[in-house]
């Protein structure tokens, strides 16, 4: 990824659209309440120069509020926002130099795509020929040169968001802010456009904050993902780290699937379903715990009463398949244990046809570190 960022002359680069100097953005202990709702509750966030950070979280966790406070569209009750070390709390939105793409379609309906992109340039005192040239370049960057003369209502949703992106980038903002820019689009366009946003962001090297509640989207585009909950960032890390080493139950359950299984912790591992599973740092050292096991850490082996039933390990647990689903490159199976616990396991897509509902299987846990939380006060442990 870092090599791509340096190679700004990569495929799709448009002459005349220069990489920008990425800035350092810091949010410090931001607080904002709406009545009794604490939308931001001591939020801290650092975005490094040229980095794309995604804020991921469930609805109502304060993502939009954080972004709007950064843009100056909303005032914080307290806290500090700095850009390259300079406090911008008192700078009005119109002077903050932050390009924004909104969830709702936001093109000015009475202007063509080109005029929309030119709007911010007019405000920066550019002459009409220069404006036209720059706006043309950015439309080309988002692949819409052909549609320059069209009005918003003559463009598809995806095209409108592209123009909005071009419009935001054309003013060469210090920071690019995207608030669920893809959520109104259909699945295929969403994937296409998110990859394109990432490509452009890397090409320009612009510091970017991207808000979404879609974890696949977050993991796909981010340098780092900040998982938000209750007005605060619970964990901020690379997508891989977030997935393999969540710091708390909320993150573990929000990012990816996990099976909460009862166990007993001791010496950095836990006994779950009669098997030892290593625990991630942050798990309780001992006592009764709930271990969050990823579906891909669960292996199913056809059970003793089936033909190949010679390989029964002592201490393992058997269960009954209650359902399977085919997901394309992988598959998923639900297994019910004797005590009623339901476990989700990831299986090879070829096995979806092999495993029959009602079949007895041996449930084995891989030696992948998992997060455990104290089973009594799981919420308090955050």
């Amino acid at each position: 990824m870092s090599t791509a960022r340096m190679d700004t002359a990569g495929v799709g680069t448009v002459a005349g659209v220069a990489p920008v100097h990425g800035v350092l953005v810091e949010l410090n202990d931001l607080r904002r309440s709406f009545g009794t709702v604490r939308a931001l509750d001591g939020m801290d966030l650092t975005i490094n120069p040229g980095e794309l950070v995604v804020l991921l979280g469930p609805s109502g966790c304060g993502k939009t509020t954080a972004l709007r406070v950064l843009a100056g569209l909303e005032d914080a009750d307290s806290g500090r926002i700095t850009v390259d070390g300079r406090d911008i709390s008192s700078v009005p939105t119109s002077k903050r130099d932050m390009g924004m793409v909104f969830q709702a379609y936001s093109l000015f309906p009475h202007m063509t795509a080109l005029q929309n992109v030119e709007f911010g340039l007019t405000l920066r005192g550019k002459g009409s020929a220069e404006r036209r040239r720059i706006a043309g370049n950015y439309l080309e960057l988002v692949g819409l040169s052909e549609q320059a003369g069209r009005y918003a209502r003559q463009l598809s949703g995806g095209q409108q968001q592209r123009v909005a992106l071009a419009r935001a980038l054309a003013i060469e903002p210090k920071v690019l802010l995207l608030d669920e820019p893809l959520s109104a689009l259909d699945a295929k366009v969403r994937v296409q456009l998110r990859d394109e946003i990432r490509r452009i962001q890397l090409e320009l090297g612009i510091t970017t904050l991207f808000v979404t509640h879609d974890q696949e989207e977050a993991l796909a585009v981010a340098d780092r993902v900040g998982v938000m909950w209750e007005g605060r960032i619970q964990q901020i890390a690379s997508p891989a780290e977030l997935y393999t080493a969540p710091v708390n139950k909320f993150v573990a359950e929000f990012v990816g699937l996990s099976n909460p299984l009862p166990g007993t912790a001791s010496e950095g591992a836990a006994t779950v379903l009669g098997q030892r599973v290593p625990l991630l740092p942050g798990s309780p050292p001992s006592g009764s715990v709930t271990v969050l096991v990823r579906p891909e850490a669960v292996t199913l082996v056809p059970g003793p009463d089936s033909a190949a039933g010679s390989d029964v390990r002592p201490g393992s647990v058997t269960g009954t398949i209650v359902g399977t689903s085919f997901l394309g490159s992988t598959g998923r199976a639900q297994v019910r244990l004797a005590d009623g616990t339901l476990i989700i396991a990831q299986i090879a897509s070829a096995d979806v046809a092999v495993l029959r509902v009602g079949e007895t299987v041996d449930v084995r846990l891989e030696q992948v570190p998992a997060l455990a939380v104290a089973s009594m006060a799981s919420r308090g442990s955050l």
């Binding site: 843009a71 569209l73 939105t93 119109s94 002077k95 903050r96 130099d97 932050m98 390009g99 924004m100 909104f102 709702a104 379609y105 936001s106 000015f108 309906p109 009475h110 063509t112 709007f119 911010g120 405000l123 920066r124 003369g149 069209r150 009005y151 209502r153 003559q154 909005a164 419009r167 935001a168 003013i171 802010l177």
Partner: protein
Amino acid sequence: MRRKQTTIRWIVIAVIMAFFLIPLLSMLYFSLRFPLSGKWTGQAWSNVIHIGSIAAADPADYGQLWTGLKNSAVLVVLTVVIMVVLLVPTMTWVRLRVKWLSRTVEFICLLPLTIPAIVLVVGLGPVYRIVSNVLSTNTIWLCFVYVVLVLPFAYRALDAGLAAIDLTTLSEAARSLGARWFRIMWQIVLPNIRSAVVSACFISVALVLGEFTIAQLLARDNLQTGIFLVSQSDGQLAVTMSLAALILAFVLLMVLSLFSGDGRRTKGASA
């Protein structure tokens, strides 16, 4: 079945048109004949066009009509300008920033609708005594009452226009691009509610041109009081003038809707 429906539709339209057109045609008929001999003549229309010189020649009979006409023209412009300048930014601001006030603003704007003009005048008497002292007794200061009178209609028209666009997102997008309030109003909000503004203006024009009660009771001279006076000595000219005012308003509507008529759509279609 379809056929029958279409027929009924045309009958309804015909009845309504007759309802509107018969009085107008009667006025036209009356304006084109000598009252006594019944011969056809365009004299009354020529008098309407040359009302200025006629008034100069015979100020006793026609002076007030001419003054009233000029006053009404000024009143139309003043009322429309004040209405737009007052209402558009206020309503935009309320929608964007002080949502909790919107009910109150709506209530205030619709209030004049519920108060009969005659009652309004009772309250306006003292107010206009002050206006007369501070400004002057000139009829054009009626523009303040007229703004109040057109408020409910203009409010409704503008409200519909503002509701049709995503005002919040558009203004926030403009702000993030570096625009400040004046530019947002002028370059983003106004162009997108143009047809609503035009209909608000038209309603205001029609209302101001037709207003009689308040002007009469406050002893000011506008078009309608002028027509009323003239009607006592020259009925034909009064009717012709009324018809001319109606036609003027109608032409204005046509011109305005042509200009507003979503130039966007026409331009867009060719793109």
